[in-house]
Structures are given as structure tokens and as C-alpha cells.
């Protein structure tokens, strides 16, 4: 790309392959560089992985329904909870946030795509390939079983000779590359491609939180990637990074993992904060309360997220001084989080609260996340953490934060943005019914786990001691999975129902506030017919109700025509797909020590890079101020 000399509308067929210009059909999904299609692919793929993770969770709870149960043997159990964690964190919740970002960041800032559309497609294919690769482990000798944080030396070849750990290490290594390039792409997009008039303090909060998230990704993923690389080297080439017998310190892995891992928590939660900050104002019909405070606290959380990692390691004997330091930083990070919750409540205050399903999920987020935040502060107290660490109390805590927090926020996002993405409405009755199974079910699963943890139940155990009071909480917890499962099935039903039978949504079904509601549902290929011009945080709202914003100078125009060349639409490309898929031979070659296959993949990368670069951006131009996109003019 670096040496590509962008000429306007590179001629078709300038690459090694004829430049694809599919208009429809499944092939068009392989070569697409459209941020909306890629966003949908991300969201769809993450739902697939989430289904797998739900089944794994269900099996875990079945096994734990009663002590000494035999649904899963210890090995199968270890694989289930490891894959559940890996899937939810890396393959489901985080990509769901990235999927929403893909779809809505350009729309919210009035852009026609991300800054590097082909790189965006590349990121998606790496994620898909990495996920499939990790899941193929189930059929190739067993899934990873060392927990989602894979503590050394449990992952060394001598302690874990199976292939499962290799699947984890290589899969996350590859997937991490995809996440990194996508994050870099988002940063450039948000910094460079905002519509005229959209200063940083007018950027919608979801986009703002994605910017902070993307910055966290580019600093947090490298330590993980290197740590994974070190273990891959240990297992493949016999290096000594995590071999205690050679003097290595297994605790190094924990530091590197959590230097990534704690920011990862915010990488998941900040986009959720963003979604909530869109949903609550819309359904309270009021601007977000304390917008600058929400933004600043998000940035503050982003910075502090890198200064609290050792609170995952209070029991590793770092000593009282280190534990005190990390306890204090962890308390401090609680302050901006609390402020955010206060501001969301403040947004509702004095508004007109419309109880859509989306809003119900947002309200449940506020409650669940507050409880999760409080137990988080408790866990930041090292002496209590000594009791709660690695017990079910921690399991309960992070499921309140990740499941009841981030995931519920994203479900609010699904209900909120589904009309925009599909042009159709989801059914509110099914939605609300599902909500009343899903959220109470979630609490029924995870609330008793606090008590199980305090009663002495360690996590990651495939059974527990009978007769010391653990039976009831576990049984309740398992019962909860059935309730929540009904809610999840109703959500799936509602999605299908909405796609097939949903009522037409119109451009702006929720009376929205930000720019994505200014274009059609679903938006045209080029997003906006005219370049939006922004003069308020609630760019779309202020156009609709200028009189509601006191003292606001009503702008003359909400948009301007694109410049004389018209809007440039990037061309489709095979290279992102080919280079993404090339990670399959790369991964399997590395895993099975087949260096011919590995070499082949590196050859593909090498040739592909040049093909990619010399192919150029390509694309075509829509006429200035163009309306519907001219059919067949996509090359």
C-alpha cells in the first residue's frame, strides 16, 4: 500500500487478478471493502461464536448442577471453560464491539468508509480465520484447556503436550494482528475523516469511546502478542522463555498477559459505554448529561487501564507495597466509572423515557454494571481479594461486568441499530419477553456465585466438595442458565423474525440524535448522498428540532455537495481475503511444524503485499451530490 500510487479510478484488471466488481451474490461478500458489509460480517460471526460459547457455558453449568456430577470429565470440562472464556472475550464480545464500530463510526462522523477499506476487510478475515482455527481444535486432538489466561508453566510442552495450547497461542496471535490493524484503521478514520464542523467535542460518544478503545488496543495487544510469540517459540523451537528449570520466571507471563488483559476489559467495556451513551439519550429524548465528563472519564479510564494490571495478581506474592499501589490505582479507576453511571442517570432525569427493548437493556446495564463495579472495588481490596481471587466470587464479578454489563449494552445496541442496518424493525413484544427471561436469568446464574465463592468454591473446578453449603448456589445457578437460554433463543428468533417479517423502519424510527439516522435504512453504499455538515453534538437532532436547542444558531444547511469530482468509492479487492485466508496455512504449518506449508503462506503474504500495493485503492466516483448509486459502476 505504501508504494501504491493512487490514481483516480485505477483501471479494472490492473492487479494480478481482475479487479472484482460484484454487485451481489456470495462472492461479493468475500471481496467487499464496504464498512457496512464488514460490520455485518463481524456482528454475524460474533453471534455464531457466541452461540458456541453459550453451549459451552450450558455444559459447564450442567456439570456443576450437583457435586460429583459426570456430564463432563475433567479434561472435557477444562476445554469447555477455556473455550468459553476465549470465545466470549476474543471471538464474541470484542468483535461485536468492533462490528458496531465498523458499521457506525463512519456513519456517525459522516464519512463514506474507513480510511483504509481493504485493511478493514483484511482485519475481518484474520479474525474469522483465527476463530475458525481455534475452533478446529475440537476436531484435531482437543481444545485448549489451560484457561483463557493460559498461565505459564501450564502451557509448556512438558506440562501440556497436546495440541490444544498451540491452537490457543497461534489462534490468538493471528487474531491479534487483525484486531491491531482494525484498531489502527479506526484511529485514522476518526481523526481524519470527521465531517466538516465535527470538532472532537462534537464527536458522538460511541465513536469517541471507540477511539479510546482503539488506542488501548494498539498499546495493549503488543504485550500479549509477544507473550504468545514467546510461548509459540518455546513449544515450537525449544526456547526457554517459560521453562522454570532453566531459571525462567513463569510469573512474567502473568505480567505480560495482564498488561494486555486489564486494558482488554476496558477494550470490551468502553464500546459498551459508548452504546449506552447513544441509547439512553435517544430514549430519554435529551442530550447526554455531562458529555465532556463522559468523554474525559473515558480517556482517563483508557490511561488508568494500563496502571492496574497487577490487581489480577494480588495473590502472587508481589508484597504489601506493590499490592497497596495497585489497590490504590484500581480504586481511582472506579471514580470515573462511577461518574459515568451518574451521568447516565442524569440523562434520564428530566427526560421522556420511552421503554423500548433497547432502553430496557440499557437500564438493566446500569443496574448490573453498578453491582459489578461494586464487587470490582471489593476485589481491588487485596486482603479480601486473597479470599475471593480465583473463587466463584470473581467469576460472578466479571460476568456481571462482561455479561450483564458489556453484553447487555451490546444487546441494547442490537435492538437500537437493527432498523438502521436492515431497514426493518424487530418485534418489541418478543424483545421485551426475551428481556424478562434474559436479564433475570442472568442474575439467577451469577448472583448465587458470589456466595459460592465466599463459601470457598474455587473456579475452574469440575466438581466441588459436597456438604459444605455449595449445593444450593450451584443448583440455582444452573437453573438460571435455562431461564437465560430462553431469553437468548427469543433474541435469536426476534432477529430472524425482524429480517424476514419486520415492518419497514424508515430512516429514523427512534427519533435519533446522531448522523447515522440522517441517511436511509439501510444506508446506501456511499452512506450519504451529500456531505453532512455538523454544527452540534446532536447533529441530526438539531436539524429536526432546532427550536429545542436554546440559543442555537440554526445552520443554513445540514449538508453540502461533495466536491466536483464526486464521491470516491474504493474498489473491491481479492487481496484482503487471500491474505487473510493465508493465515490458515500459516497457522497449521506452525502448529504441525510443517515448514513447507508455513513457507507457502509466507510466500502468499509476500506476493500478496505487492499485489495489494500495486493494485491501488481503485474504485469509482459517484457524481457530485449524487443520489442513488449507479448500478454496475462499482469497479
Amino acid at each position: 500500500m505504501a508504494v501504491s500510487k493512487v490514481t483516480v479510478a485505477a483501471p479494472a484488471g490492473s492487479g494480478v487478478f481482475t479487479r472484482p466488481n460484484w454487485d451481489a451474490g456470495w462472492l461479493s461478500w468475500l471481496t467487499t471493502v464496504d464498512h457496512k458489509r464488514l460490520g455485518l460480517l463481524y456482528i454475524f460471526t460474533s453471534f455464531l461464536f457466541m452461540s458456541a460459547a453459550s453451549i459451552e457455558a450450558f455444559l459447564i453449568r450442567l456439570q456443576l448442577a450437583v457435586p460429583n456430577n459426570t456430564v463432563l470429565n475433567p479434561d472435557a470440562y477444562n476445554q469447555m471453560f477455556t473455550m468459553h472464556g476465549v470465545t466470549m472475550v476474543f471471538l464474541a464480545i470484542m468483535p461485536l464491539g468492533i462490528g458496531f464500530a465498523n458499521y457506525f463510526v463512519p456513519l456517525q462522523i459522516g464519512a463514506r468508509d474507513l480510511a483504509f477499506p481493504r485493511l478493514n476487510a483484511f482485519g475481518y478475515w484474520i479474525y474469522a480465520v483465527g476463530g475458525l482455527f481455534v475452533y478446529s481444535s475440537f476436531f484435531l486432538g482437543g481444545a485448549p484447556d489451560a484457561g483463557w489466561f493460559a498461565y505459564s508453566p501450564l502451557t509448556s510442552l512438558s506440562n501440556n503436550p497436546g495440541n490444544g495450547t498451540d491452537f490457543y497461542m497461534i489462534g490468538l496471535f493471528v487474531g491479534g494482528i487483525g484486531t491491531l490493524v482494525t484498531a489502527m484503521n479506526l484511529i485514522v478514520t476518526i481523526i481524519s475523516m470527521r465531517a466538516p464542523g465535527m470538532t472532537m467535542m462534537r464527536v458522538p460518544v460511541f465513536t469517541w469511546m471507540m477511539l479510546v478503545t482503539a488506542f488501548m488496543i494498539i498499546f495493549a495487544f503488543p504485550p500479549l502478542t509477544i507473550a504468545l510469540f514467546q510461548v509459540i517459540m518455546d513449544r515450537t523451537f525449544g526456547t526457554l522463555f517459560y521453562v522454570p528449570q532453566a531459571g525462567a520466571m513463569p510469573i512474567l507471563w502473568q505480567h505480560l498477559f495482564w498488561i494486555f488483559g486489564h486494558p482488554e476489559v476496558y477494550i470490551i467495556v468502553l464500546p459498551a459505554f459508548g452504546v449506552i451513551s447513544e441509547v439512553i439519550p435517544t430514549f430519554s429524548r435529551k442530550p447526554l448529561f455531562g458529555y465532556p465528563v463522559i468523554i474525559l472519564s473515558g480517556i482517563f479510564i483508557g490511561f488508568m487501564g494500563f496502571a492496574v494490571w497487577s490487581h489480577h495478581m494480588f495473590t502472587t506474592g508481589l508484597g504489601p507495597v506493590v499490592n497497596t499501589a495497585f489497590a490504590l490505582t484500581s480504586f481511582v479507576i472506579g471514580i470515573p466509572t462511577g461518574i459515568k453511571i451518574f451521568n447516565w442517570v442524569g440523562t434520564i432525569w428530566g427526560g421522556k423515557v420511552v421503554f423500548t427493548t433497547s432502553m430496557l437493556y440499557a437500564i438493566s446495564f446500569l443496574i448490573t454494571f453498578t453491582i459489578g463495579g461494586i464487587t470490582g472495588i471489593m476485589l481491588a481490596v487485596p486482603p479480601f481479594d486473597a479470599q475471593a481471587q480465583d473463587s466463584y466470587f470473581v467469576v460472578a464479578h466479571f460476568h456481571y461486568v462482561m455479561g450483564g454489563g458489556a453484553l447487555m449494552a451490546f444487546f441494547a445496541g442490537v435492538y437500537y441499530w437493527f432498523p438502521k442496518m436492515s431497514g426493518k424493525m424487530m418485534d418489541e413484544r418478543i424483545g421485551k419477553l426475551g428481556f424478562w427471561f434474559l436479564v433475570p436469568g442472568l442474575h439467577l446464574i451469577f448472583f448465587p456465585q458470589h456466595i459460592a465463592g465466599l463459601m470457598g468454591m474455587p473456579r475452574r473446578t469440575q466438581t466441588y466438595v459436597a456438604g459444605i453449603g455449595l449445593e444450593l448456589p450451584n443448583l440455582l445457578s444452573t437453573a438460571g442458565t435455562f431461564v437465560m437460554m430462553i431469553g437468548l433463543i427469543l433474541l435469536a428468533v426476534n432477529l430472524v423474525h425482524g429480517l424476514l417479517r419486520g415492518k419497514p423502519a424508515g430512516n429514523d424510527p427512534w427519533d435519533g440524535r446522531t448522523l447515522e439516522w440522517a441517511t436511509t435504512s439501510p444506508p446506501p453504499h456511499h452512506d450519504f448522498d451529500r456531505q453532512p455538515v455538523v454544527n452540534d453534538r446532536d447533529a441530526h437532532w438539531v436539524q429536526k428540532y432546532p427550536e429545542s436547542v436554546h440559543g442555537h444558531r440554526v445552520p443554513e444547511s445540514a449538508s453540502e455537495p461533495y466536491d466536483a469530482n464526486g464521491i470516491h468509492m474504493p474498489g473491491q479487492s481479492w487481496y484482503p481475503f487471500i491474505m487473510g485466508i493465508a493465515f490458515l496455512p500459516f497457522s497449521y504449518g506452525l502448529l504441525y511444524h510443517n515448514f513447507w506449508v508455513l513457507g507457502l503462506s509466507i510466500l502468499i503474504f509476500f506476493v500478496g503485499t505487492f499485489g495489494w500495493a500495486f493494485e491501488g485503492v481503485g474504485g469509482h466516483h459517484l457524481p457530485a451530490g449524487g443520489h442513488a448509486h449507479p448500478k454496475g459502476a462499482r469497479s
Partner: protein, 193 residues
């Protein structure tokens, strides 16, 4: 870069992208250097750093790499002046000096292996080879990149309009150079301080 779309900053996308990539790459090297420092002095068996590191030799290769950065500046300056000959000459010079550096590294690695320092031998070997090897891969990519620019400039002449593409390659090259200064200090000089 791409016409037809408004840009809210004056910075070309690709340049911003490179800065962000380098910020991220800093963390990659930071982690590797951190690992090296954590394991410094923890090797249970030799060869130990003082037994194998050769400061004069590596000083020469470091100097070569530093000079290549200087040539990079000249190449970019030439391209801005539309001085095609000097642009090609200095770009070739950067790639050539980079290759000399890589030659030194290959020699050094082979020599260390002869002395018994291997990836699998002790922690020093493990951390040293992975750290300097990763840097070597960066230099190799940079050399290939610059040579590609050179070849491409014969296919389709580069002018000052293409400046940003060379500038981005230059940013990368300077970064790799700076990282080497850090590695040279941490791995080599500190050992004898």
C-alpha cells in the same frame, strides 16, 4: 490522498497510520526488551553476555545503520527537489547500508552459535536471539521496502508528489534505527558499563 472526501486533518492518512503503527511497534519492542531485562543475569549456564558480546564489531554495524538513516534524509530531500538521480542513489544507499547491517548480524549470530550460544541453550541465548532477531526482521522488511521503491521508480518515475510514500518508509526506517540504539545500549553497552 483520495479525492472526493473531506479530511478533517491536514495529515495524510498513510502518514498518520505509520505513526500509529510505530506507537504500537514500540510496545512490541518494549515487551521484548522488558523480557530481556527481566531475565538478565538469570541464565543458569553459559555462555554469558560478557563472554560473547563484541563491542567494537557491533559499534561498527551500529554506525552503519545510523549512517543509513542519514542517507534516508538525503533521499527524501532529493525527491522533494525532484532530483531523481540522487533520490534513487540515496534510496539505494539506505538499502545497501541496511544490508551491510544485516550481514554483520548474520555473521554475529553464526559466530555466537560457534561459541555455544543458542536459542535453546540458556535464557540469555533465548532472549538475545529473539530480541535482536525481531529487530533484524524489521530491518529486512525495510530493505525490501526500499528496494521495491527503487525498482518501482524505474517503472513509473517518482516525483515530489509521491513524497509521502517515501516519507512513510523513512519514518519506519528511522524508528527501526532508534530501536537499535536502545537495543545496543541495553544489551551491549550496559553489560560492560
Amino acid at each position: 490522498m483520495e479525492s472526493g472526501h473531506y479530511r478533517s486533518t491536514k495529515l495524510p492518512d498513510i502518514k498518520l497510520m505509520m505513526w500509529i503503527f510505530l506507537a504500537s511497534d514500540t510496545m512490541f519492542f518494549g515487551t521484548l526488551i522488558g523480557t530481556y531485562l527481566v531475565y538478565k543475569g538469570r541464565s543458569l549456564v553459559g555462555p554469558y553476555p560478557v563472554e560473547v558480546l563484541d563491542i567494537p564489531l557491533t559499534t561498527v554495524s551500529t554506525f552503519v545503520l545510523l549512517m543509513s538513516s542519514f542517507l534516508m534524509v538525503l533521499a527524501l530531500h532529493a525527491l522533494r527537489q525532484d532530483d531523481t538521480f540522487r533520490f534513487r542513489l540515496w534510496t539505494f544507499g539506505v538499502a545497501f547500508f541496511g544490508s551491510i547491517f544485516l550481514g554483520f548480524q548474520v555473521y554475529e549470530f553464526a559466530h555466537f552459535v560457534d561459541l555455544g550460544l543458542t536459542l535453546q541453550g540458556n535464557l540469555f541465548g533465548t532472549t538475545f536471539f529473539v530480541l535482536t532477531g525481531t529487530h533484524g526482521v524489521h530491518v529486512t522488511i525495510g530493505v525490501i521496502w526500499l528496494l521495491s521503491i527503487l525498482v518501482h521508480s524505474f517503472v513509473k518515475p517518482w516525483t515530489s508528489k509521491d513524497e509521502v510514500y517515501l516519507e512513510v518508509a523513512g519514518l519506519y526506517w528511522h524508528f527501526v534505527d532508534v530501536v537499535w540504539i536502545v537495543i545496543f545500549t541495553v544489551v551491549y553497552l550496559v553489560e560492560f558499563a
